[in-house]
């Protein structure tokens, strides 16, 4: 149901569609902080690309999570390739069905984010904003072609974040890749000027002798009958082709003659050759370079990793300890655990023998304050305890410092219930005794394998 409303003194122009409220704007004359609490998304109704970009930037530059992650849609009359990745979608004929559905999905994911504001000063803040955006949109950061970008490409969200352009924009992102928060996939390689890094380059052939670009290309003609070979101009007599060696007319290509190759003649120095140099003229700084001098830069798409998701949700430095000391042979890496889980689920389905997955989650805010080393020690202890209570055929893995899972093979319901109990008691005791944390809880629940239980983690 579409309702077009004007709210309050500020005369907000909003559209409500099935409970989702869109702020309808066509220019930047509003205070985002004031309107944000009353709306779920923004709908831009203009065809001006600059205005749309300006409004999106106004939203993305905010430091409040609810504001910079706000879904932004534009009218389909403004649909242009350059805007496709800047906004979350286009609204066609005032049909907000798709936009509302998308907004609910985004809002649902934003709801998982445990902080409300980020700073705007350093690498962590910049990366956190990017990670939370990718998490909220559940999609990769795909580069799009941008003619006036010095790299030839720009990234959605980043280009509206701080108006940064070119390679500097990617410095933080590449550091996040090194930190394991993002994965990359190669999309393109761009050449850029070795002098000014501009990618607006003009490639042109030049004389291998004097470097002039004033070249003339001419076909070579081979007269089969007398084996004479020379440039086409040697054969041209009026409208006809006549062989200068034997005076015969060349009538039919393939029968009388062919064109085995071509020759390049420099109009400046008269050098004749089949070899020309390729030179590059930078339209930015005007300097000439050879192909080998150009710098090459990878253009990647970026996908958020599991570590990145944890950071996007919690807003702190990662607590994921992916490599831990070997506790026992039952403790395996998380990726391997997922593989075992799939296999065990299939086995349980085929054999009909009981199997279960036990999930454990530590709920304690104070764990976020732990250093990386302390987190590692805690995770090691938790795994130690878990491995001591499971049977040799069971497997346990840590997803992060909070989440652990156990595959119980061939286990009866009684065994699983007993395991859940001892795990809960011992882990609460571990946290309270060692970290002096009073407000903590341990959630332990189990699911039978063979159904859809594996969907919980896959």
């Amino acid at each position: 149901m579409l309702k077009i409303l004007k709210q309050g003194e500020a005369r907000l122009n909003v559209i409500e569609y099935e409970g989702v409220v869109f702020l309808r704007v066509s220019h930047g004359g509003f205070n985002l902080s004031e309107v944000a609490p009353h709306i779920d998304a923004m709908y831009i109704e203009t065809t001006d690309e600059d205005v749309i970009n300006g409004l999106v930037s106004k939203v993305r530059e905010s430091n409040k999570v609810s504001e910079y992650l706000m879904p932004v849609f534009a009218s389909s009359i403004a649909m242009k390739p350059a805007l496709e990745t800047v906004v979350d979608g286009f609204v066609r004929n005032m049909d907000f069905f798709q936009a509302a559905r998308q907004t609910r999905e985004i809002q649902e994911r934003i709801g998982q984010i445990k902080y409300s504001e980020v700073g705007d000063e350093n690498y962590d803040d910049y990366v956190l904003k990017t990670l939370s955006f990718l998490f909220s949109r559940n999609q990769a950061l795909m580069p799009f072609r941008k003619r006036n970008s010095s790299t030839g490409y720009a990234y959605p969200f980043l280009c509206n974040l701080d108006h940064a352009d070119g390679f500097s924009q990617l410095e933080y992102i590449n550091t996040a890749v090194q930190d394991g928060l993002l994965n990359t996939t190669l999309v393109d390689k761009v050449n850029h000027c070795p002098h000014c890094s501009d990618t607006f380059l003009h490639f042109r052939e030049s004389c291998s002798s004097c470097g002039s670009i004033d070249l003339k290309y001419e076909d070579l003609i081979h007269h089969f009958k007398c084996a004479h070979v020379a440039p086409l101009s040697d054969f041209v007599q009026g409208d006809k082709l006549c062989c200068p060696k034997c005076d015969n007319e060349l009538r039919h290509i393939g029968i009388d003659y062919d064109k085995p190759s071509e020759i390049t003649v420099c109009n400046t120095c008269n050098h004749q050759s089949q070899e020309t140099n390729m030179t590059v003229h930078c339209m930015g700084c005007g300097k000439e370079s050879s192909l080998s001098e150009l710098n090459t830069h990878d253009v990647n798409s970026f996908e958020i990793t599991e570590k990145g998701i944890v950071r996007a949700i919690n807003g702190k430095k990662t607590q994921v300890i992916t490599k831990h000391k070997q506790v026992s042979s039952n403790v395996i890496e998380w990726d391997l655990f997922k593989l075992y889980l799939r296999q065990e689920t299939k086995r349980a389905q085929l054999s009909g023998s009981p199997a279960a997955m036990v999930s454990i989650r530590l709920n304690a805010e104070a764990l976020w304050e732990l250093s990386t080393h302390e987190s590692g020690v805690l995770q090691h202890e938790v795994l130690n305890i878990l491995s001591s209570y499971i049977r040799p055929t069971d497997l346990v893995a840590a997803r992060n410092i909070f989440d652990y899972q156990i595959i119980v093979t061939m286990g009866s319901t009684e065994y699983v219930e007993e395991l859940k109990h001892v795990v809960e008691v011992n882990l609460i005791k571990l946290i309270k005794d060692n970290l002096q944390i009073e407000s903590c809880s341990v959630e332990v629940f189990s699911e039978e394998l063979g159904g859809n239980a594996n969907m919980a983690i896959v």
Partner: protein
Amino acid sequence: MINWDQILPEYLIYWHEVGIWKFVRVFWYFIVFELFRYILLDYIVAFFRFLFRRERKQKFEHARRMLRMENPLLSVIVPGKNEGKHLYKLVKSLNEQTYKNIELIIVDDGSDDQTPIIGRNLEKLGMIDLFLRNEQRGGKASAANLALRFAKGSIIVHLDADCSFDRDAIENIVVPFYMDPKIGAVGGNVKVRNYDDGLCQRLQAIEYLKTVSVGRIATSSLGIYKIISGAFGAFKREAIMGVGGWDIGPGLDGDITVKIRKSGYKTVFEPSAVCLTSVPINFRILTKQRLRWDKSIIRFRVRKHRDIFYPHAGFSWLNFFASFENIFYNVILDITWWIYIIDVIINYNSTLHFIIPMNFTLYTAVAFAQMLSIYIFSERRNEELKLWKYAPLMTLYTGTYLRIVRTIAYVQEFVFKKSYDDPWNPVKSSSQAKMHGF
């Protein structure tokens, strides 16, 4: 078992007893043709060259000084297909030359190997002046003509890519142009590089020394030099441009020589311009090569340039004799040899056991006499001494093997015009040449 001790004296005694006229009657072919052409003529020429050696040397040195003063640009052109593997060595060999004002043009005639990459790299490195490539193969003549079109030098030197050269080879091949302005083309002295690799190569090495090194000194001295080797030849620019460059082969080196001679220029052989080439490594490859070469005698000398024998405004007795000598000693004597064999078999059937050993004895004696003439003429005589022990085998090699190959080639060309089917040229060119009788 044959008892050699008894046979040897017996056949010699037999020929001693039957008298000289019977000997001449039976061995007329050897006495009339072989002895005169390949022994007497060589020694007569050697004698006169010895007599005038000082004058010739002075003239040569004077011409060399003229060349160095003028220092003209020489265009070295190297057409070929799939010759990339030889190019670097060739360039290095040319870099060593005493004559430096050279432009090197390499034409790749539709190679399907790494030649274009190698050629372009050498051009980029400045080791060759111009690398041209025909994407579609046109045949060796068209590749040579393409190089000729872009050559800037006043003298064009045509080389094969798989050759290497004495340090003064390029200079020496150009000197004769300064000895006589009527000289339009000069042939280099092609010798065998891989003569130590096997019997087939050794026999060819002796053959090259006989026919190329010594044989061409003789014909050149008589003014009837009729083939400038494609592996190493130099042409005055106006002479080769005047005849329109090369026509479709195979045998285009002999053809271009005749064309230049017919246009009024002299052609000479320069023995001091030494080039080494690799020859076929077995008799199968050698047979294919010789079939191709021998067919070209029929195609060019007998058919295309038969007008040399007709009286006309441009008639030249020297050209007449040059072609006559070539046709006579190759085609007519080949036919005559078979007549001789039939003659001996029919008329002297009962004395074949005396004739055959005597024939071998005569030809072996001639082979050693030729080795002596090679020794007299050669500038590498001491290195070539090791070939002497193979001289007796030349009777079988040139007297029998090459004669049979030649006969097959002549029949193929006379009757079937097989040279036009040779894959050495692309079909598009051969079919046009055949249609127009070239």
